[in-house]
Amino acid sequence: MTASSFQLEVPQSLIDRAKAGEVDAFERIYHRFERPAYTLALRILGDAEAAHDVLHDAMLKVFQCIGQYRNDAPFWAWLRQIALNQALMRLRRERRFEPDTDVEYLTDDAAAPTWVHADASALERALGALPALTRSVLWMYHVEGYSHPEIAELVGKTTSFSKSQVARGTARLRALLDPSPCLIEAGSPACLI
């Protein structure tokens, strides 16, 4: 399993220098985590400008509060948590905390997963078509490695909610990437299960 893109080694000396207020140490930390933090925000929010704002706010918070970092968790995990919280807060503020609930998808689980043959841009497009909260849960679970209980706490929902969003998101991605999907809108007479 590939590690999270945040999982970068940060020398203690660099953290200490940043704690001491050295701006060039902040700059090095910023550039080290710029892309992982931006990517996380982009995947959650699905909007480049909003992701840029979150990157800015998260990094600012990291720098303002680095004195409180106590070395009892890896620095990257601390920074990732701040970036994730910022992105989720933004999602809440924009009232985009609605999960995928009203659509069901027929999928053939025995067939090869559709993402096997999808290129990166197709997968990114499909990901972007998911409801923001569903996409966020899927990303936190599959990419960042959060457990369902952890996700439940982060989004203020239940563990079952997290599991159902991963299942729905996966099924929906499969359908979106399928050249002949059988997408069932709620109430549609076609393709009833």
Binding site: E34, L55, W78, L123
Partner: protein
């Protein structure tokens, strides 16, 4: 054939993690650097309202402590009336007597560590509930207070981050820090003039009494 099987085993996680990292369209560093250079000035800007808030809170807590002292000392259970909210704190089942004990967290410890932790969590929940319940009634904060409130909320968020990674040993001090920050936020909100003026006509005072 084995290649096909390997392909079919490609999980969604593998596929998502294989996506290239995105890069921001423009460099965010210059704006950040601009914030970082004059840190002393920023601290001064937030320092005044925070100090005022802390002073208000101290006065407020002192007044309420005096008011509740007899019942709190003799029969702690009867003074607390708020059941802990099931919001973000981790111990939803903490009882009301724990909450009362936390009100006086500066008193000598009467309970063991587990009780104090549960009490701090209950206190945190009660304060959060009050802040949530009074959000609508509160008039907009002046810009300086708003900045201070945002700063306090940021600090609470960071305590939450630390709590998520903390050991059982460190949890109590973090929960107490969280309570202290929530009290600052409460004081800031409560010291807002218009809310104070309308307090007699609104349930805010009652709620404040209940959470203390």
């Amino acid at each position: 054939m084995s290649d096909m099987n390997a392909e079919n085993r490609l999980t969604l996680g593998d596929a998502l993690r294989a996506l290239p990292l995105a890069a921001p369209g423009r460099d965010a560093w210059p704006a950040l650097a601009a914030y970082l250079v004059p840190p002393a000035r920023r601290r001064r800007r937030y320092g005044a309202p925070l100090a005022i808030a802390a002073a208000c809170m101290l006065a407020f807590v002192a007044a309420l402590s005096l008011r509740h002292m007899p019942s709190a000392v003799v029969e702690p259970q009867v003074t607390a009336t708020v059941a802990p909210a099931a919001a973000s704190s981790k111990t939803n089942g903490a009882n009301v007597s724990d909450e009362t004990n936390v009100t006086n967290i500066h008193e000598p410890a009467k309970t063991d560590g587990g009780d104090r932790l549960a009490a701090a969590q209950a206190r945190s929940q009660a304060l959060e509930r009050w802040l949530r319940d009074t959000r609508r009634a509160a008039s907009p904060l002046p810009s300086q207070d708003l900045a201070a409130a945002a700063e306090i909320e940021n600090l609470i968020g960071l305590v939450d981050v630390e709590l998520a990674a903390s050991s059982a040993d460190g949890a109590l001090s973090l929960w107490r820090r969280r309570v202290a920050l929530l009290e600052d936020l409460t004081a800031l909100r409560y010291s807002n003039d218009r809310l104070a003026e309308s307090a007699a006509a609104s349930p805010a005072i009652g709620i404040l009494n209940r959470i203390n």
